[in-house]
């Protein structure tokens, strides 16, 4: 069973190699990519079921004992994230094939995408800090290629900001890793808690801050967010969908992991303030924009604030709320970008000035947008309501009134800016130029893209429908995450 863990990384990497060899045959590339993505998803599902029954699974590379080997560790949290992540990667891959994102100009799409898949799997499974850094680099490298896939002026311009900032982030991360190694003599996440606890408070705080800055930039928290709304909109829609849904959440995953496992006893008031500012800045930014992709990009930032808020509040209840929030947010955000992709494909633009009256032409498309949009704003009965309810009720229990006020106000403003997109793009009369393109059936013209979007939106509804069992799973996962002793015991034995 434990041998499955490395396969979640090896299969997509091998697929990327095959895909590079088959660079001239798009059909082969597609088959290989789909097979690898399906296999990775299947492995992830197997792991999550196994881990939930039998507890944390580990794989020690090279057969060394757990304390010196390079470990892959899957507890409930990482297994869940791996499952959600690989499912989204599979969905977006199919969508991209439907959109022909892998056409002549960008035959590098499939290899890069599979490397990204491997990096995502690795980042979730990494059991030591240096490996976490390496897998971050793997997925970042793939994301650089995907972001600048067509090599157009706009992509190079925004790609430069993205690459340079992420390289700087990597350096902060490596510095943190090096200093942690200098202070403790290990990078194994199972051994670190004990050794870090023995360090003086000041040094521990410094190390913690270095990791927080590095992962915070990846997760786009205040004040390290400015690269995100600049770079994501420039990418092709299927690429920005997977970036929006997944990449920032890997930063959040790393924050949760390091804060609970390595630095459990920290005063997180500052982090709570950062969370509040992240929410507010994100939503203010969104309100000022008039392009769908940019509005949605700013909302990623404000939503990250809720997750960081859960981490900052601390405790099993808050962490389980954060995990549920991540579980809900990844498919919801992905589906919003997928709908945006269909709109852009159909009308040729994502600017609200140039798109109008889509609801008249396709009520289904409007519904597909409205469901995740209302879910993002946190309206019942959608999954976002439950996510927000979880985080906010923990804040109420801990009597952090001001963050509750911020969270609710931001929620309201999210609704306002989602309605702005709805009013602008879906309501009203269709533009004269678009009427001639056919009055109805936007979805029917793009069957694969629409099918995937419908599936992902249905998935978000299923999260709301099965919220009870899922929330209990998140609670078990949060118990895993906060219980350092069981993590250590599982890895070192």
């Amino acid at each position: 069973m434990n041998d499955l863990l490395p396969l979640a990384i090896v299969i997509p990497l091998a697929g990327a190699a095959v895909s590079l060899l088959a660079i001239r045959s798009r059909a082969t590339q597609r088959v290989v990519a789909i097979l690898c993505a399906v296999a990775t998803t299947a492995i992830a599902v197997t792991i999550v079921v196994h881990v939930d029954r039998n507890g944390t699974a580990t794989a020690a590379m090279g057969g060394w004992p757990g304390s010196i080997a390079i470990n892959l560790v899957a507890d409930r949290f990482s297994a869940l994230m791996l499952t959600v992540g690989s499912t989204m990667l599979l969905a977006v891959l199919l969508y991209a094939i439907g959109q022909r994102a892998d056409d002549e100009r960008s035959r590098w799409y499939h290899p890069a995408y599979l490397v990204l898949t491997a990096g995502v799997s690795g980042a979730f499974l990494a059991g030591d800090l240096f490996n976490l850094f390496v897998f971050f680099e793997v997925l970042l490298m793939a994301s650089y290629v995907l972001l600048t896939l067509e090599g157009t002026d706009g992509q190079i311009r925004s790609g430069t900001t993205y690459v340079v900032l992420n390289v700087v982030e990597s350096m902060v991360l490596v510095t943190g890793v090096a200093l942690i190694f200098a202070a403790t003599g290990t990078l194994n996440m199972a051994e670190l808690p004990e050794r870090l606890a023995a360090l003086p408070d000041g040094i521990r705080l410094g190390l913690n801050l270095l990791l927080l800055i590095a992962f915070g930039l990846k997760a786009a928290v205040f004040p390290l967010f400015s690269w995100l709304p600049d770079s994501y909109p420039a990418a092709p829609s299927p690429v920005s969908a997977v970036f929006a849904g997944l990449l920032t959440k890997i930063g959040v995953y790393a924050i949760v992991r390091t804060q609970t496992l390595l630095f459990p006893e920290t005063n997180r008031t500052l982090l709570l303030v950062v969370a509040g500012l992240t929410m507010a800045i994100g939503v203010f930014g969104a309100i000022a924009q008039s392009d769908m992709k940019r509005i949605l990009s700013f909302h990623i930032i404000s939503q990250i604030g809720y997750m960081v808020m859960g981490v900052a509040l601390g405790g099993v209840a808050a962490i389980s709320a954060t995990i549920f929030y991540m579980l809900h947010h990844i498919p919801v955000k992905t589906s919003l970008f997928l709908v945006e992709g269909i709109v852009e494909r159909d009308t040729g633009s994502s600017t609200l000035d140039k798109v109008s009256g889509l609801a008249r032409r396709s009520g289904w498309l409007a519904a597909l947008f409205l469901i995740p949009a209302l879910s993002l704003a946190g309206l019942p009965p959608f999954s976002g309501f439950l996510g927000k309810l979880g985080v906010v009720s923990v804040a109420l229990d801990q009597r952090s009134w001001w963050i509750v006020a911020v969270a609710l106000a931001v929620s309201l403003m999210t609704l306002v800016s989602m309605l702005k997109i709805f009013n602008g793009a879906f309501w009203g009369d269709p533009m004269p130029s678009q009427v001639t393109a056919g009055r109805t059936g936007v979805l029917r013209h793009h069957p694969l893209m629409s099918g995937v979007t419908v599936a992902v939106v249905t998935g978000t509804l299923a999260i709301a429908l099965f919220a009870g069992p899922l929330y209990r799973f998140c609670e078990r996962a949060a118990f895993d995450v906060t219980n350092t002793a069981s993590y250590t015991a599982a890895v070192i034995r």
């Binding site: 390496v134 190079i156 340079v164 190694f181 200098a182 392009d291």
Partner: protein, 124 residues
């Protein structure tokens, strides 16, 4: 960490940070290379005092081999990222004739015409 090495790390990091603040991509790349080397040296020194090569059968004070393995990985990653950035700078040069990092177009429009964007939510 020896004093000389500490000074070297500080100088490389300082010069690198200065170069990264520039607008031309070439300078940013040079700055990132210097920053990367500063960090790599820092990793190398995190292993503690230097000593004998850690070979089975020998005795004495060994050097910690782990940071050396880490620094190798970090160097390879740094090399890959820098070559990608160089190719981006070249691409930028073939498109624009320069390699300056420009302002975000949408940001600039928002900053220039704040009144224009207020009513975009209204159906037209």
């Amino acid at each position: 960490m020896s004093f000389g090495q500490a000074i070297l790390v500080a100088v490389l990091a300082g010069a690198g940070t200065y170069l990264v603040m520039h607008r031309t991509l070439t300078r940013i790349i040079l700055g990132l290379a210097m920053l990367g080397n500063a960090v790599n040296l820092l990793i190398l020194t995190s292993g503690g005092t230097p000593g004998e090569a850690p070979v089975i059968g020998r005795t004495g004070e060994f050097t910690d081999p782990v940071p050396q393995a880490l620094v190798l990985t970090a160097i390879v990653i740094g090399f890959g990222v820098l070559s990608f950035l160089l190719s981006m700078a070249y691409r930028s040069w073939t498109i624009d004739g320069n390699d300056e990092v420009e302002d975000d177009i949408a940001d600039r429009r928002l900053a220039d015409e704040p009144d224009e964007v207020v009513d975009h939510g209204e159906p037209t």
